[in-house]
């Protein structure tokens, strides 16, 4: 069964230290004007996001082999989820860059990447609450799982219409990820 989770925005608030590090800045060393500017962009981005998570859990045996990371070993079940901040985030970043605010666009892009990661981490913790001991969270494009399995995950497994998957496996909206977690037992 495909389920949907509508996160609160607070579930997506990225750690400033980390998203500034993504942008190449050290939080503890930046001056106050920079902080104010970053905070303005933070709020602007937070206002724009429309986070949503689609997920489905099934027996590992029901999944194609190429979708299951080899490192997952003898799992019984697997949850695959797609999280996205929505197309409004892509639009905001494009608008900023098109009007010459490259810096702002760059910061918002870093912010969004980390916001999505924060959401994934929060959601993973929620799954753990439900399923107990499991594997690490894993995304296609790493290790043994090819990025192109996104097409199967998005269109066939989760049946998400509003996300486009390119031939390469890259997804649009850009701030979208798919993740998988394997479970060793049934629900807690």
């Amino acid at each position: 069964m495909i389920e949907i989770f509508h996160p609160d925005k607070v579930d997506c608030l990225p750690d400033k230290r980390i998203f500034l590090a993504r942008a190449g800045a050290r939080y503890g060393k930046i001056d106050e004007d920079f902080i104010h500017r970053v905070n303005e962009l933070f709020l602007m981005a937070l206002e724009k996001i429309k986070p949503i998570v689609y997920y489905r859990t099934c027996d590992a045996s029901a999944l194609p082999k190429e979708v299951i990371p080899t490192t997952f070993g003898s799992i019984r079940k697997m949850t695959i989820f797609l999280s996205t901040l929505g197309s409004t985030m892509d639009e905001l970043i494009s608008q900023l860059i098109e009007r010459g605010s490259t810096f702002d666009g760059f910061i918002v892009d870093s912010w969004a990447s980390e916001a999505l990661e924060t959401l994934n981490e929060r959601f993973h913790l929620m799954l753990r609450e439900r399923f107990g001991e499991g594997t690490m969270r894993f995304s296609p494009g790493y290790g043994s799982v090819d990025l192109r399995v996104n097409r199967y995950i998005v269109k066939e497994f989760l049946k998400v219409d509003q996300v486009t998957v390119l031939e390469s496996g890259v997804m649009i909206p850009r701030k979208t990820t798919t993740c998988m977690v394997g479970w060793f037992d049934d629900q807690k």
Binding site: K9, V10, G28, I35, H36, N39, L43
Partner: protein, 772 residues
């Protein structure tokens, strides 16, 4: 909870305070004195505190912000003091789920003398009474919040510590965006005094929203060596559909609180306008974090209420307030006439001193009141930091108690009994100390003097006083009495080599000699070359001051140049409170001009300049109050000369609105308006709209000024405005106070005055036909 346990918690994680009470109760439909809810509707308090616990607060504050005797008395509930405070602790404890409960304490509602009407001791007793109740009811700690007057805060801190050495204590002040409190104290002055006082956490709250508060907090974090706390407002309130809202969203609040943590905050929470949503967002976003390591400035400073003097380059202490052998000054002091003292203080400031030594000499003829009044007067006239050259221990205690800032004790002998008594005062009131390199008799050799220094150093360290707060005096003896000045130089050298600081009383060297200035100057240069750090000297000696600058310059150091505030004699006289000199100037002017010209073209212009100095942050509230008080007798005198043709710009009726007992700001406005030529009728505080209407009918003012400090009472301004309008009272209506702002004023149909200077400007423009 012990202090050590609390300090350990602070090391382990960032602690979350709760949010606002007054504004949140207001949002939930409750009006009036919110502390009464503890008795009348405890469920309401309970619900809010439960919400804060659910939001993730680690520390709940008791609903006792205004529950001190003075404020309760103003509302007619003095007799309920005990019950209100005890119930507040019981309620908080009942919902705290094991989280900490801190007793919330704030201002008496009045500044302490000289800015306000109550004495230091009165303020101290009021705080002690409330804090004792909170402690006996079982709070885990005390938080003192929203203080604008450093002296009042000091009274509250001492009250806590005299009740318990072991209760955790958080001390907060409130600052404007420029980092100064309305009483002119900078955040650095606050931080450096709190470093000395026995508080556990130092912080700021209220007045500013997070983005405005960040730079003020950054300054606090640089100067304060203790754990830090912060509670910003959620912005200024605005009115929509008859309800008050605050601009700062929970999201914005939370992301800024992360910045405070990054700058070094250990305890974070919210003040006016914040509610459980703000706290929830903050706790969820910040999660469990360890406090950041933070570097602080190691520069030592002396301070008065409004002046901070970093003293690392060289400390120049003016010696001329010394009544020994000066009959006129002695007599003045005995009569409690401090005009001579103030003139000397002012002169020495202009000459480049960084602190002034105060030595009344004739202590046997004086009482504690002389010292108390002298310090109050110096504070009122915004003088330089003080060096207390006071021998009698109880007089020294009184002087330091009354003093606002970080002064210098001059001096202690290097023997245990004498030194320990002064260390106790240093620890209680803060500041720095000069220790003489002698125990009872003056050692003859430099090595012997140095041994005395080492003995004193051991005592200082045993009492946990930072060594860089101590100057050692190598002893300067008159060369005219065949004393070898080399001994002093050698002692300075030995002390400096040991990494300690030295200070001398310079003029003693040339006592009884001709050409004293030449000798003093030459010797000072030699001392500086040997490592001297401070000198008590006669700053009138231009040669001495010049040689000092030159010697320091050769060492690559530079003294900060003295700058006059205004370069205008009249403005200086008014700002410095020199009533006599001002009257002399007026008398001189009267020989050439008529009274009307002097009143309107000279004095009024000078006041306008002072208003501008205040507006651009060059002078502060104490200066402004003092200026208004100083100029008033001159205006009165000129008006008497004018008789019936005297200037009356207009009649102003002032009132603090119903439910609000804050009176200070309105009184300052009254003083400034009077000094500006207006006739002022002050109705006082907590004045119902109907009463204002009646008085308007009787007094027939041109202008009505309303004050509202609290968000819970600001709506009364609209009630008054509507009532006057509906009754056809045609007056120019201005309003001010902490809770007012431009947008609210527009909604209420009144004109906003952000401070007394702007109020005067608006009133003047109105009578000229420019506004209203």
């Amino acid at each position: 909870m012990t202090r050590n346990e609390f300090l350990q918690m602070l090391k382990e994680k960032i602690l979350f305070l709760d949010g606002a009470y007054g504004t949140e109760f207001f949002k939930r439909g409750h009006r009036g004195l919110i502390e009464l809810l503890n008795m009348n509707e405890p469920k309401v308090v309970e619900e809010l505190q439960k919400d804060y616990i659910l939001a993730g607060a680690d520390i709940l504050l008791t609903n006792t912000f205004s529950a001190n005797r003075m404020k309760l008395k103003a509302h007619g509930f003095e007799s309920e003091l005990q019950r209100i405070n005890i119930r507040a602790v019981q309620i908080a404890r009942s919902v705290s789920q094991g989280k900490l409960v801190f007793g919330d304490v704030s201002s008496t509602g009045s500044f302490v003398q000289p800015l306000g009407e109550i004495s230091f001791d009165e303020a101290y007793e009021i705080f002690k009474e409330q804090i004792a109740i909170l402690m006996s009811a079982g709070v885990d700690g005390i938080i003192i919040e929203t203080m604008s007057d450093l002296k009042e805060l000091k009274a509250a801190v001492l009250a806590v510590r005299d009740l318990s050495d072991d209760i955790p204590l958080i001390a907060h002040m409130t600052f404007e965006e420029d980092g100064k409190s309305v009483t002119g104290t900078s955040v650095e002055i606050f931080a450096t005094l709190m470093n000395d006082l026995d508080v556990d956490v130092v912080g700021i709250n209220c007045s500013l929203e997070p983005k405005q508060m960040l730079s003020v907090f950054a300054r606090l974090a640089k100067y304060c060596k203790k754990p830090l706390s912060v509670e910003p407002n959620a912005g200024k309130p605005f009115l929509e559909n008859g309800r008050l809202f605050y601009r700062t969203t929970p999201e914005e609040f939370a992301i800024y609180m992360a910045d405070f943590v990054e700058l070094g905050a250990n305890v974070v929470g919210g003040c006016c306008g914040t509610g459980p949503e703000h706290i929830k967002f903050m706790t969820k976003y910040l999660g469990t974090q360890k406090p950041r390591k933070r570097e602080t400035i190691s520069t030592q400073c002396l301070s008065s209420r409004t002046i901070l003097k970093p003293i690392d380059t060289f400390l120049i202490i003016g010696e001329r307030i010394n009544a020994s052998g000066r009959k006129k000054l002695q007599n003045q002091i005995q009569q409690k006439d401090f005009s001579g003292l103030l003139t000397l203080a002012y002169e020495q400031e202009q000459e480049g001193c960084m602190a002034i030594d105060v030595n009344f000499g004739i202590e046997k003829l004086l009482s504690e009141e002389h010292f108390q009044q002298a310090i109050i007067q110096l504070d009122k006239y915004s003088c330089l930091p003080v060096s207390f050259d006071v021998q009698n221990l109880s007089f020294l205690n009184v002087a330091m108690k009354e003093y606002v800032g970080r002064g210098l004790i001059n001096s202690a002998f290097a023997r245990e009994d004498h030194l320990v008594e002064r260390i106790k005062l240093l620890k209680r009131y803060g500041g720095l100390l000069i220790v003489l390199a002698m125990e009872k008799d003056i050692p003859k050799t430099a090595e012997e003097r140095f041994q005395s220094v080492l003995k004193a150093l051991k005592i200082v360290e045993e009492h946990n006083v930072e060594v860089d707060r101590i100057y050692f005096d190598p002893l300067v003896l008159p060369v005219g009495a065949k004393n070898d000045y080399h001994v002093t130089l050698q002692t300075i050298h030995l002390i400096s080599k040991a990494g300690l600081k030295t200070s001398i009383g310079l003029s003693n060297l040339s006592f009884g000699m001709p050409n004293r200035e030449n000798i003093n100057a030459a010797f000072l240069a030699l001392c500086v070359e040997n490592g001297l750090n401070a000198a008590i000297l006669n700053s009138k000696e231009a040669l001495t001051m010049g040689v000092l600058r030159g010697t320091l310059s050769l060492q690559g150091k530079e003294l900060v140049r003295v700058e006059n505030l205004s370069h205008d004699l009249l403005v200086d006289q008014i700002i410095k409170g020199q009533k006599e000199q001002l009257m002399n100037t007026v008398q001189e002017l009267l020989k050439q001009h008529d009274p009307l010209y002097i009143s309107q073209q000279v004095l009024a212009e000078a006041m306008k300049k002072i208003g501008m100095l205040y507006a651009n942050g060059t002078v502060y509230l104490p200066h402004l109050i003092l200026a208004a008080e100083t100029v008033q007798p001159a205006f009165d005198y000129l008006n008497n000369l004018l008789g019936e043709s005297r200037i009356r710009l207009g009649k102003v009726l002032l009132a603090t609105v119903q439910g609000d007992i804050h009176d200070i700001g309105k009184k300052i406005v009254a003083t400034v308006l009077r000094s500006g030529g207006f006739e002022v009728y002050d109705l006082g505080k907590d004045v119902p709209a109907q009463k204002i209407l009646q008085e308007c009918m009787a007094y027939k003012p041109d202008i009505v000024g309303l004050s509202a400090m609290m968000t819970t009472t600001v709506g009364q301004v609209k009630e008054v405005a509507d009532l006057l309008k509906s009754e056809g009272i045609n007056v120019f209506l201005i309003a001010g106070g902490a809770s007012m702002n431009q947008q609210l004023a527009e909604r209420f149909g009144v004109t906003y005055a952000k401070d007394a200077v702007q109020a005067l400007e608006l009133c003047k423009r109105f009578v000229k036909g420019g506004v209203g």
